[in-house]
Structure formats: C-alpha cells, structure tokens
C-alpha cells in the first residue's frame, strides 16, 4: 500500500520473509528532458563521490563496509517520458547477524548524509569533485564506442526516435555534458530535491513503525509534482530510415526498430508480449532458430520489447557480407507470424516461457520493488502470478498474427565490419 508522507512524497512497504536482505530505494521522478538526462547522470556521480561527512570514496566505502558490506547504488535513467533518479541500498536483514546492529536506521542515515549534505564549496559543488566526475563521465561516454553491441543499439535508437530526449541514451550526451557548469548542476540538484515526486520503497522483513521512524530522518518538503504520462508515442514514418557505419571489426551488427501501437499492460499487451517472445524474445523464437540455428548466419539474433516507448528492436551479430540475407530472413519470420506459419507447440511453449520468466522474477527483491514502482505509473501493472498466467494463456493465435502485422519497420542500422587484415 502506497502511503503519502507529505504532498508528492510517498512510501511503499512490501513485507516479505523470502530474502536475507532488506532493500531500500528512493526515486526522484521528473519529466525527462534531453539535457536533464545528462545533468542527472552527472549529479548521481557527484553526489555519490563525496559529501560533508564523507570526504572521499574511501570514506564512503568504509561506511558501507561497516554496514556489513551494504550494497549502494545511485544512478539516473529514463523510463518512457520520465526521468528517474534512483538511490538504492541492500542490507543484511539484522536477524541473520551474529552481532546485530541497526542496519536499517544506519542505511537511511547514510542516504540522508549523501542527499542532504553534499560536498559544497561556496554554495557550489566542490569544483575538484565536479570537474573530475565530469571528466570521468565524458570518458565513459567516449568508451561506449569500444563496445560495438551497445554502440549499434544506441545508433539505432538515435535513428529511430524523432524526439531528442528519446534519442539520447540514459546516461546523457557528450555535447550537453561539456556545457554543464557547477552552477547548473547545483540548480538541478535543488530542483530535484524540492520539486520531484519522491517515491520510497522498502522490501523485506520490515517493522512498519520503525520504518516510519527511521525515514523521518529524511525531511522532504511538500511539493506539487506534475508528471506527464509515462508512455512515449511518435507518428509513423512513411519511409524506413537507414544508416550504415563502417568500422574495422570482425563482426557486423545489424539492428532494426519496429514501431508498435501497444503499451505496458494496455490494450493487446499480452498478445504483443507473446508476439515479441515468438519473434525473437526467447531461445525458442523464430529469429533464434532460423537466423542463428538453421541458417548459421549469426552468432546472436534476438528481439526486445520496450513497452513504455512502443518499439520492438532486433539485434544481430553477423558476417557483414550476409547483411541482405539476414535482413530478408528477419522480415520473413515476421511474415510467417502474420500468416500463422508457426507451430502450435512453439506457440504454447513461448507462453509457458513468459510465465516461467514472470514467476522467476518474483524471487528478486529488486524486481518486486520495480513492480511496485511500475504499478504507481501504470495501475494496470499485473503483480499477481496467477492473473498473469491466465492472461498469457488466453492469448489466441489470431491475436498474435494481428500484433505481428501491427509491427511497422521504421529503422535499419548497420555497423559494417571492414577487413582489418589482422592475424
């Protein structure tokens, strides 16, 4: 049950004995903007690098070690049209410690010191820390070029999306980053702390009264946070956008984007879930069996569904000279689904695989926390295993054929490998 702490600030407690840990998370949520993604990523690095109480990374590490190796993460990402700044911790449930200590209270105090007492010099983030973290982030963004799989997938998104915020990777953009000043970042920080919707979530063996008392250490002012719908939609393009880059790599990457009119737990969602799984979402899928296994054309070939942005992407690693053949075979697989040319057994098994995946994810405290968050933005989000099972089993062959026909190829990105003459 999501409880209101004050205007715009909420607490959700999920009581369970399943885990040896307690998971705490605090999300700051705002509308996503292009430059905002970059600034919030940098802010996560700066706030988790030092604070008034923790001079440097070593001081922070020491505190986490003293909390029995508590897991700590601060990061920023985008989900649909929302920008989410996440702070999360994982601590051992004190009942399992030989010498129990109040880890929950300590963890929350720790988060409070990082969030509310940042490392400031003259009302600015400490310039030494700011510049160093900015430089590290610039290096990180540059290093993506070395990871061809990620590079190709980002290039496809850049090609497919028409909205600049959606084109931008979660971690931001190098040009925007170069322009960020310490003053800008401090403004971003204050706006986030005072205006963002705040969602706190606890998962584990939680004493509710104690949780409220511990969280009272974090004082959030009331706020009026207006958020857009989480879903992003863009108009269909009449033409398929294509781009090719050439690089001296042994393996080429061919990635495609299909627009779909289907969103997270909205109309036809279960049918689209099954369609994607059948197309390329599982090892039994048509892409896997026909591109990888039967035709021996690719090392990997799979599809992924982004139900917050209405897109299915296909990613493959191939011999570059096989590009046209692979492209044709991918489209043939979609055509086969439209025409109902798939085995009934594979169809049934695909559904069971989705059910297995859903139930398995209930064994992760992080997933349970994510599920709670999704439900806040999309109230239709299913969290019950039996309900989910029934809905998936009810998907008909005809519904899947219709959804495959609803997939519209919109973008083709090709990273072409050129001969390196390497030994």
């Amino acid at each position: 049950m999501n409880q209101k702490i004050t205007d715009g600030v909420y607490l959700n407690i999920l009581q369970t004995q399943q885990f040896k840990t307690i998971r705490l998370s605090i999300q700051f949520i705002a509308p996503a903007t292009k430059v905002g993604l970059t600034k919030r990523s940098l802010l996560a690095s700066v706030l988790s690098a030092s604070s008034q109480d923790y001079r440097d990374q070593v001081a922070i590490a020491n505190e986490l070690q003293a909390m029995y190796g508590a897991g700590f993460n601060m990061n920023a990402y985008r989900q649909g049209q929302l920008a989410i700044f996440n702070v999360s911790m994982r601590i051992v449930s004190p009942q399992y410690l030989r010498d129990p200590q109040d880890l929950q209270q300590q963890a929350i105090a720790f988060i409070g010191r990082l969030l509310f007492k940042p490392d400031l010099v003259a009302q600015q983030f400490n310039p030494v820390v700011f510049e160093r973290e900015k430089e590290n982030m610039a290096r990180y963004i540059a290093s993506i070029a070395d990871d061809k799989q990620t590079m190709a997938s980002l290039a496809l998104r850049d090609l497919y999306f028409t909205d600049e915020t959606q084109q931008t990777p979660n971690f931001g953009d190098a040009t925007d980053l170069a322009a960020v000043t310490a003053t800008d970042l401090y403004e971003t920080y204050q706006a986030m702390l005072n205006n963002d919707r705040v969602q706190m979530t606890l998962v584990g063996n939680i004493d509710e009264d104690k949780a409220h008392a511990d969280l009272a250490q974090l004082t959030f002012v009331p706020r009026d946070s207006q958020l857009p719908a989480i879903f992003y939609q863009q108009p269909l393009s009449a033409t398929v956008r294509e781009a090719t880059d050439e690089q001296p790599v042994q393996q080429g990457k061919l990635n495609l984007a299909y627009q779909i009119p289907t969103y997270f737990y909205q109309q036809n969602y279960y049918a689209m879930l099954v369609t994607n799984a059948l197309f390329g979402g599982t090892p039994l899928s048509l892409l896997f069996t026909n591109v990888r296994e039967k035709a021996s054309l690719a090392y990997y070939a799979s599809s992924g569904l982004d139900p917050f942005r209405g897109v299915i992407t296909v990613q493959t690693g191939i011999e570059s000279q096989q590009k046209d053949r692979v492209l044709a075979i991918i489209e043939e697989q979609r055509q086969a689904i439209i025409e109902g040319q798939f085995e009934q057994a594979v169809f049934e098994q695909t559904k069971l695989a989705l059910i297995n995946q859903f139930k398995s994810s209930l064994d992760s405290a992080a997933y349970l926390g994510q599920q709670q968050l999704n439900q806040l933005f999309v109230p239709e989000t299913e969290i019950d295993a039996d309900q989910f099972t029934n809905q998936v089993l009810a998907v008909t062959k005809q519904a899947v054929q219709e959804q495959a026909a609803n997939m519209r190829l919109q973008a083709i990105y090709f990273l072409k490998g050129v001969d390196t003459n390497e030994a």
Partner: protein
C-alpha cells in the same frame, strides 16, 4: 542423505553420492518460485591431453573441444534439448570454463520432467559429421565476436604471458582453425572419458518441496541407465618453469580502442589443489586484494585522483585445478604509469597505508555481509557451491574461515605470491598512437 545446516540462517544442504558415483546436492529455499539445477562435469578447456578410457596412450584433441561438446550435446537425432525444456517453459543454458562444463535449467513447474531432460541429454551423446560441421559456423562466429573485444584480448594476452605452455592460455572456445579439425569421433571419445557420473555433480536449489522425493527421481533415472565401471581420469599438462622463469614479462598491441588498457598479471607458483587448502588460499587472496585494491583502498583512490585509473579498474583471483593467477587493471590514459604503480603496490604491500588491522577488519565485515546476501540468489548458491572447492567443505563453513583470517596470514600470502619474477604486463594502445 548427509545434512549440512546453519540454523541461524535457516539454510540446509542435503548431499548424496549415488551408486554410479554421481554427487547430488539439494538446497531447498522456502518462499522461492523457481528451481535452478546445474549438472557439472569436471572437464574444461585445459583438459585436451588425456588417456581415453580403456586405452593406454595419451591423445590430444583439438583446442576448444570441451566447449564444442557442450554446444553439440543439446542436439539429438530426435530432438533438441533446448526445445524439450521449452515444452515446460523452462529455460536452459550451458557454459564451459577452463576446468568445468555445466548444463543448467531453471523452472517454476515440472521439476521432475526437467531433471530427466537434463540428465538424459547430457548423458546420451549423439553426434554426426553433418551436425558437427554445421556447428563450426556458429562457434566460429562466437570466437570472432570475442576477438573484437579489447578487454577479452587483454585478459588472454596476460594469461598467455604467464603461461607460455599451459593450455589455460588458449581461448576456451578454441580457434577457427582448431575447431575445424573436430570430428564426431573426437566428441564421443571426450564424452565417454569425462562424462562418467563419478566425474560429475548435480546441484539443485530453490523450490524443493521434498528433498528425498527429488533425490529418488534422480536415483531412478540413473539406475535405469548403463554406465561403465568408474575409472580414474588421467590428464597430462605440459611442464611450466617452477620458478616462473618462462613468463613473458611484457607485451603490447594496438586495437581500435578509444582509451588505452593496462593489465598486470601475477602467476601463483604454488598449486594449492582444489580441497580446503585451495579454498582457504582463495579466501585469503580475495581479502588481500580487497585490502590493497578494494573500495576502501586509499592507494586506488590516489590513482583515481591522479587520473591513472577509472571505474573500469578491477581485479580478480582465478584459482582452479592446476593453475592460479591474479589479474588487475583497467582503462587508462597512461598504461605504463598504471602498471608501474600497481606493481609497486604489490611489491611494497607492507608499506601500503591500507595494509592495516583496521582496514582488514572492515574488509572482513563486508565480506561476511556479502556472503550472507549471496544466499538470496539461487544462481549464486548453485554456481558457487557446486564448485569442486566445496567437495569437503560446507558452504556454511565459509563464515568461520573468513573470520579466522589475520593480517599475518595476508602478509604470508603476499610474500609468497607477489614476486617480480611471477609478474607480467600487457598494454593495449589506440591505433593512432601506434
């Protein structure tokens, strides 16, 4: 069944060795939806030269055969094992390391049927020249993909420097040329020798309602099959210089990378084996590396502030049957500066401001907490405790072993291990600097 328990954690592990020699371990986790089972054979990429069962001369099979065998076992005359797991919605996978090959599935229903699929497809080989040849294209792609990855190349160059003879220097998947030589007969020969039940173990963790019933399923499946009498496995490895004098101290190469990469390797010149001594060596080295280079290391913080390393910095101690070595490094603008500094910290460990009782106490506390947290993950439990290091030692003994470690122990490990003659360096440079 033998029972190992930890009442405070509320965790229990059941163990049994079947008549045919197969070790079975069962680890129920209440509240979990999933069951994860992993069948492992003590056979990996380094086991290329061996005495086939019933013969008295060594053979050497092509590099990459253990991994190739792993791929090929899924395919049968009548069925594909992946698809068979799929009938129940289970997901399956497999992986090959230097010394082990593992086959696994996870499921939320039909545990018995899935266990039988697992045992049957791994224990009933079927290979034909046609299916073997087709696989060469798929694995060839896999090998090429790894060749494009700079971090992977860096790692194998360091291992190759440390081990000029030992097959650990060779890619687990082999090379495009070596796998081209693999035949169906080679695969049968390897399977027959290394997939004896006595060389294998089955670990099942997660939702298990009745451990005895699950054991009975496995026993019945095994009793219905014919196996040869268990025979000892005879492997052969090339000799390495005991004093490390054959180590190649330095290699560099250029690749299309944005930033340089620098890695230091240290070869363990003592073989600790894979019993309790090996496990203790592993725990101590991990604590030592954490003390010197972990999150609370002021030395690493200093290098970070100097811009010599970034978040990509990492270290690892690999200890398996017949080899053990440390690797450490990451991305840097000054590859020589970074490797020089890392070697200096290793050599002068005793002067390190981090080599203190206080830091060790924190590092141990964190290690204990992380060890407890790992009991959340079925995969972590199975992958860690199905390891041969846990043949004699119980998973629940690890807490005590960590608590016992002293700074004097770490000084001993460091003195034995961090010798300049046991070290090597590799740098990868961007092409334009070449």
């Amino acid at each position: 069944m033998k029972l190992r328990q930890n009442p405070r954690l509320g965790e229990t592990l059941y163990e049994e060795t079947l008549d045919n020699g197969l070790t079975v371990k069962l680890y129920p986790k209440s509240g979990y939806h999933k069951t994860y089972a992993i069948l492992t054979t003590n056979y990996g990429s380094i086991d290329n030269t061996f005495m086939p069962i019933g013969e008295n001369e060594y053979v050497t099979l092509p590099d990459g055969i253990a991994h190739f065998l792993e791929h090929k076992l899924f395919e049968k005359a009548e069925y594909d094992a992946f698809e068979k797991f799929g009938i129940y919605g289970a997901s399956a996978n497999a992986f090959t390391s230097f010394t082990r090959t593992s086959y696994l599935f996870s499921t939320t229903s039909h545990l018995q049927a899935n266990l039988e699929i697992l045992l049957d497809f791994v224990q009933e080989p079927y290979f034909t020249p046609a299916t073997v040849n087709k696989e060469k294209g798929i694995i060839g792609q896999e090998i090429q993909m790894y060749n494009d990855e700079p971090d992977w190349r860096l790692f194998y160059t360091v291992v190759g420097n440390l081990y000029p003879q030992h097959p650990v220097r060779i890619d687990i998947a082999g090379t495009v040329d070596s796998i081209a030589k693999i035949t169906a007969d080679d695969l049968y020969q390897a399977q027959k020798t290394f997939y004896q039940p006595s060389n294998m173990s089955l670990f099942i963790v997660g939702q298990i309602d009745d451990p005895q019933e699950v054991l009975d399923w496995v026993s019945a499946n095994q009793a219905a099959k014919q196996f040869d009498q268990p025979q000892p496995i005879v492997r052969s490895l090339p000799a390495e210089a005991e004093d490390g004098s054959d180590i190649i101290p330095y290699r560099s190469m250029t690749m299309p990378v944005v930033r340089s990469k620098s890695m230091v390797g240290v070869k363990g010149l003592t073989d600790f084996g894979t019993g309790e001594a090996g496990l203790v060596a592993k725990l101590k080295m991990n604590l030592l590396l954490e003390v010197l280079f972990g999150d609370s290391s002021t030395q690493v913080q200093r290098l970070y502030e100097q811009g010599l390393l970034d978040d990509s910095f990492g270290y690892e101690y690999a200890i398996q049957r017949s080899f053990n070595f440390v690797t450490l490094g990451g991305d840097t603008d000054d590859p020589k500066g970074l490797s020089d500094q890392l070697i200096a910290i290793l050599e002068h460990y005793q002067d390190s401001p981090d080599f203190t009782e206080a830091n060790l106490a924190l590092v141990k506390k964190a290690a204990l907490g992380e060890y407890l947290q790992a009991f959340n993950s079925l995969e972590a439990i199975a992958n860690q405790y199905s390891d041969e290091f846990f043949n004699e030692v119980s998973p629940f003994d690890v807490l005590g072993l960590i608590e016992q470690v002293t700074l004097a122990d770490l000084a001993q490990v460091a003195a034995d291990f961090f010798k300049i003659e046991a070290m090597t360096v590799c740098h990868i440079l961007p092409e334009e600097q070449a």
